[in-house]
Amino acid sequence: MLKKISIKKINDLAAALMEKGTLLAPVKEAAGHNFAEIKDPQQLDLDYYNTIVSPKTVFLPQKEDFVRYETAKPVAEAQPVALNIKATFLFGVRPCDAKSFQIMDIHFHASGIIDPYWQQRRDATVIFGSAFDLDIPAQDADFYQTLGIGAADPEGSDVFMVKKGEDLLMKAITPQGEEILARLAMLGEGKPADKKYFEEYIKKGSQHQTRNMCLDPQVIAKKLEDIFHSGEFWQAQSAACLSCGICTFVCPTCYCFDICDDTLFSRGVRRRVWDACMFTDFTLEASGHNPRTHVYQRLRQKVCHKYSFHVRKYGVISCVGCGRCTRYCPVNIDIYSIIQDAMKA
């Protein structure tokens, strides 16, 4: 099903979606765009490259309350925090980020236990993917092409959107997408010319140039295993690393979290909060032992986790080449360059 709407009327579309559920889309903030709930249809803004923090925040919020309790009361009386899930529309997700959800799904479904929070949010959300503007060259930091993701790749989206002049073409990719497009009365039908444009745009998208190297998951996984114990390589790569958490927090495929108790006097809440393998105390045990005390060990963990361990465990690279870690790194560490160097090492 291919529909279209004039970009001038995009606010009507926002209003219609807001009627049917929660609308999340990139909203301009001081430092750039970020996904946030749209409160006023006028807020919807298609003029962005990509968001600072990835849309994983929608399914894996930085803070997720599990249970509220009072320490003086019996454990059995603790109150699990209800997940008030509402139908959600995640609007304007870039192809690389849409792909990241599929990668995260593998992890959150693994070893026979489905993460209930992730899954319930995922089930309630319709993803409106949006192609990168092919007239604008990709930013220097991006390398999604390396991971086999096109600039107009509909994979992972329920509805995929492409701009055509003054119009926005919207194509349903999944049954959920079909359903929601059918319910949006203000959309016009796509003409055969639109259909052709859409197909060609997607094809053209796969040619859209980002940094690109030939990368076979199995080969890079093996390569990283081989050089894992090469302290020299990793020390050189991590010489500048500050060991802060930016790269992992903005990353669409980083999922590590901490479970912690926040208690004041006798009341408290147990929640999960994002954590980062780059933090010193990430692996610090109560005994005082810490297997990763050096910066290079932590950077190595991050890179190997994405490009080697994840491949070994789940068969896919846990990176989509969105370039956020590189873009926001205060000292310009670039995971693409590390992988490139690793291949040469």
Binding site: F66, V67, T71, S111, I113, E285, P291, Q301, C304, F309
Partner: protein
């Protein structure tokens, strides 16, 4: 899975607290289920662990010390941690009284590979405080329903001094039994110590268990493991037949929080029990042996 939401602990009641050692920093907690349905769904095997949870303090992954053959309760032996970073949860556990409620999530992780051990001779080697899941295994094997499924059982257990041996009554009972060979050793005895003195690796060398159709299950402090492994290599045990249990900092216990990986495996969901052959494959940030 014992609960619809794997992150929310089930309530349990502390029915008995046993002070295990002279230094009073290791206690065994016997817990009973508050809800019958939780008890029915909590099916575990020796070697598994659970997250003990105290609201307001946090959670701690602790190996289950009781055997599944013991009905009506489960036991955990917990050491009060806190040399560098105070062990918030273990301290709080130690401050509990009988009758208190705590939460647990589990059982988690794999177990000692019971099927693999069947029909084989089992050499159990333990050191100090790491004897908990080994005790579970030994009691499981010794249970009358199970004993016939296994070959000879040899237990070699050492501690720094007699006061630091765990489960003293049970050890004495094992020593009286004919269907298990129990060797207890201490690094240094005191005036009343009648038993053996010597380090675990040396004792293993002396006892020299036959590698014939045998598996060894080793758990102990890193230094003990480092010196014991060569002894078993020399005796002719293959890497597939040497099993151990790892520990790492854990949070979720179900392979989601991404913290406890050794190489591409998560200790919590793929482990904690690994054979030496498995471990060789994994990329470690540090090496406790070699």
């Amino acid at each position: 899975m014992i609960n619809k939401n794997p992150y929310i602990p089930i309530p349990m009641k502390v029915i008995k607290i046993i002070d295990e050692v002279d230094t009073r920093d290791i206690k065994t907690f016997r817990l009973s289920f508050l809800n019958k349905e939780d008890e029915a769904s909590f099916k575990y095997l020796p070697g598994q662990f659970a997250e003990l949870s105290i609201y307001g303090k946090g959670e701690s992954p602790i190996g289950i010390a009781s055997s599944p053959t013991e009905k009506g309760y489960i036991e955990f032996t917990v050491m009060r941690m806190g040399t560098v970073v105070p062990g918030t949860v273990t301290s709080a556990l130690h401050d509990l009284d009988e009758g208190a409620q705590i939460g647990i999530r589990g059982p988690l992780g794999n177990s000692w590979p019971i099927e693999f051990l069947e029909k084989k001779n089992v050499v159990v080697v333990g050191g100090g405080f790491a004897f908990t899941t080994l005790r579970s295994l030994v009691n499981y094997i010794l249970h009358e329903d199970n004993r016939k499924r296994f070959g000879e059982i040899t237990v070699i257990y050492g501690a720094r001094n007699p006061g630091l041996l765990l489960y003293k009554n049970e050890l004495a009972a094992w020593q009286k039994r004919s269907d298990i060979k129990t060797i207890i050793t201490v690094d240094k005895g005191d005036e009343s110590w009648q038993g053996r003195e010597g380090f675990v690796p040396a004792v293993c060398k002396e006892i020299a268990p036959s590698p014939q159709n045998a598996v060894t299950v080793i758990c102990g402090p890193p230094v003990m493991i480092r010196f014991t492994l060569p002894v078993f290599f020399e005796l002719g045990f293959s890497k597939e037949n040497i099993l151990t249990s790892l520990e790492m900092r854990m949070k979720c216990g179900i392979g989601k929080c991404g913290r406890c990986n050794v190489g591409y495996k998560y200790v919590c969901s793929d482990g904690p029990v690994f054979s030496l052959a498995d471990l060789e494959e994994l990329l470690r940030d540090f090496a406790t042996y070699k």
